[in-house]
């Protein structure tokens, strides 16, 4: 007689003694983990990152360390003498080399970068200026990223007539030099932070949109997009929740290259005199101040220039590192 086999749940036992689900010989890595490892092994990129972090910390805490306000004119308590145009002074170093303390009205006060011609502490001003410059750069570039990415993705996704019109518009917008935009803006906007921000907003999104569009064209035809569409996903969902996460790498690289451009543009506008207005300061306006006194007080121009150069350098290094980490060539792997 034949007995019918009845399979019950108890017949199946999960083998928990050995972890067979994980392949230990060929461990797979998530994409972002690989990017992170490659980035970490890139010395230049890490140097850049460290410089950026240091400058960030100093920009946040620097003005606090010195104990002076960025627009505070430093005077001697008793005689009301203003600390005008003092060269950098650190009492301890001075004593070390000359064996004596400073003997003037500001004995005992520390001015790491010296003071400017109105008697304000340059150390405080440089880091305050770096803070302003960085803030402008980050805010505008993040907004530009949102605008540029959406624009590029939408243009790339719908294609045909929509793409044609949107790309003609980009072409025209791209053909207006930035300084023309600044000039036209200056005719109806007051000089100041907002002029810089609007000028950057109007120009920097173009690069991002181009990259986002190129990524969209690359991804659009892949199977998972088709699967998503078959399952009934609407365009909005496909663009912003299926494609967007996969375009983030190249876009972030572009962001890293745009930030130095933004910092540079701000510095150059402030230098020309349409950017930051007094008593506010930024890297650019500090360079301008230093330049006005360069023949008599050359030490004043050095700190802002060095900070500017380091920022540009660091962001470029990080950008390069990210690009290499995101798209490794075969021989690097």
């Amino acid at each position: 007689m034949s007995k019918e086999m009845i399979v019950t749940d108890e017949d199946f036992v999960l083998d928990v003694s050995s972890d067979i689900t994980t392949d230990r010989n060929f461990a797979s890595q998530s994409f972002w983990k690989g990017v992170f490892t490659r980035f970490k092994n890139n010395k230049r990129a890490m140097t850049g990152l460290v410089i950026i972090i240091l400058i960030f910390i100093l920009a946040v805490f620097g003005p606090m360390i010195s104990g002076y306000g960025y627009k505070e004119i430093i005077t001697n308590g008793q005689t009301q003498e203003v600390a005008k145009s003092l060269a950098p002074r650190i009492p301890a170093l001075h004593r070390l080399f000359t064996g004596a303390d400073y003997q003037d009205a500001f004995a005992g006060k520390v001015f790491l970068f010296g003071t400017d011609s109105l008697g304000r502490d340059l150390f405080t001003r440089v880091w305050y200026g770096a803070r302003v410059s960085l803030m402008i750069a980050f805010v505008t570039i993040l907004i530009d990223m949102l605008i540029g990415m959406s624009y590029g993705l939408i243009s790339g996704y719908f294609g045909q007539v929509c793409d044609g019109i949107m790309q003609r518009f980009v072409e025209i917008a791209n053909s207006i030099p930035r300084l023309v935009i600044v000039g036209v803006l200056a005719t109806f906007m007051p000089k100041g932070v907002w002029l810089v921000i609007v000028a950057l907003l109007l120009t920097e999104w173009i690069g991002m949109s181009k990259i986002a569009r190129a990524e969209m064209l690359k991804i659009k035809g892949q199977e998972y997009i088709m699967a998503s569409r078959t399952l009934g996903a609407k365009s909005f969902r496909i663009i912003f929740s299926d494609v967007l996460p996969n375009t983030i790498g190249p876009v972030i690289t572009q962001v890293m290259f745009s930030i130095p451009t933004a910092i540079f543009t701000e510095a150059f506008l402030s230098f020309v005199g349409v950017g930051i207005v007094l008593p506010q300061c930024s890297i650019g306006s500090l360079i301008e101040d230093g330049f006005n006194n360069i023949t008599t007080l050359p030490y004043q121009i050095l700190p802002p220039i060095i900070v500017l150069a380091l920022l540009m350098l660091a962001f470029n290094f990080v950008g390069d590192g990210l690009r290499e980490a995101l798209a490794p060539r075969i021989e690097d792997m």
Binding site: I172, S175, G183, T187, F188, V272, A309, M312, N316
Partner: protein
């Protein structure tokens, strides 16, 4: 090829027209008053507006403006700069100065950039290579006007080899500093780009083949490597020229060169903003930019037939 060029030129003209209209619209429509209201009575302003045709419909104004620009080459008069002299009398001199300095710096940038880049690629890992890398890092992180300040301080103030300010009578001597500082960025970019392109080409199979056939030295470099390495360099020159325009703005201002850049700075940074100058310079800058792009596009098409064909397939 002719079809490609005609299409490009037409596109460029349309773009320029659109930009002119856009700029005109922005400058005229946006809030902002070209007349100092505290110094002029309301009637005087109204009279002046009518005289300048500011009360006409905007399209009529634009038509008149275009007619003047194209027909007579006149951009109207400035309001605060040069005591209100017609812009068209001020412009040619400024353009000449800017072009001379800009041309010189492009020349320095391209020639030295190429030499450095080729030198670096041929001596990979040696002194030239390191030098090229350092230069390209410097070029990226030091803006041209900062470099200019240094040059001015050391070469014109500490050691007085060159004049401290621009001097028309010593044109060559006084254009070295601005041209050199403007060329730093293009020089470093071209050097790095040339190096990378050449290294890529030198590693390719056909160069290996040429070498194994017994080709070496100058002939290999000029006939096989450079020809292919140089094509993409044309693409980087366009953005470099644009950077040059921006850089020239400050460099001209610092060095006291009467050029387009200084004119632009004076027009926007003074007490009263000079609307007509902003508009005229905006149009000229855009035209320059579009013109340069057009020329490079066509050059690129001539150099590399693939671009042309791709363009044709698309249209």
């Amino acid at each position: 090829m002719a079809k490609y060029i005609i299409k490009r030129v037409f596109m460029a003209l349309v773009t320029l027209f659109m930009i002119t209209f856009l700029l005109f619209l922005l400058v005229r429509i946006m809030p902002g008053n070209p007349f100092p209201s505290e110094r002029m009575s309301a009637e005087a302003i109204a009279k002046k507006r009518a005289e300048m045709g500011l009360d006409d419909p905007i399209l009529v104004q634009f038509g008149n403006y275009l007619k003047n620009v194209i027909g007579k080459g006149s951009f109207g008069k400035g309001s605060s700069l040069y005591n209100g002299a017609p812009i068209s009398t001020v412009l040619p001199g400024c353009m000449a100065n800017s072009f001379k300095i800009g041309g010189l710096s492009i020349l320095i940038g391209v020639v030295f950039g190429l030499i450095l880049g080729i030198g670096a690629a041929l001596n990979r890992g040696h002194f030239w290579d390191t030098f090229c890398t350092v230069l390209s890092i410097l070029g990226v992180c030091v803006p041209s006007y900062v470099f200019m300040i240094f040059l001015q301080y050391f070469l014109a103030y500490k050691v007085t080899i060159f004049p401290f300010y621009f001097d028309m009578s010593r044109f060559m001597g006084s254009s070295i500093i601005p041209a050199l500082s403007l060329s730093l960025f293009s020089m470093s970019t071209i050097a790095r780009f040339t190096r990378n392109e050449m290294v890529e080409v030198m590693d390719s199979d056909y160069v290996l083949l040429a070498e194994s056939k017994g080709m070496y030295g100058t002939k290999l470099v000029t006939k096989h490597i450079l020809r292919n390495a140089l094509i993409p360099i044309v693409t980087v020159i366009a953005p470099l020229i644009v950077d040059l325009l921006t850089g020239a703005l400050v460099v001209e201002k610092i060095y006291g060169i009467n050029g387009l850049g200084k004119l632009m700075v004076d027009a926007i940074s003074g007490e009263g903003i000079d609307y007509n100058y902003v508009l005229a310079l905006g149009i000229i800058y855009s035209a320059l930019y579009i013109g340069i792009m057009l020329v490079l596009d066509i050059t690129y098409g001539l150099l590399d037939p693939r671009i042309r064909l791709a363009g044709r397939k698309e249209s």
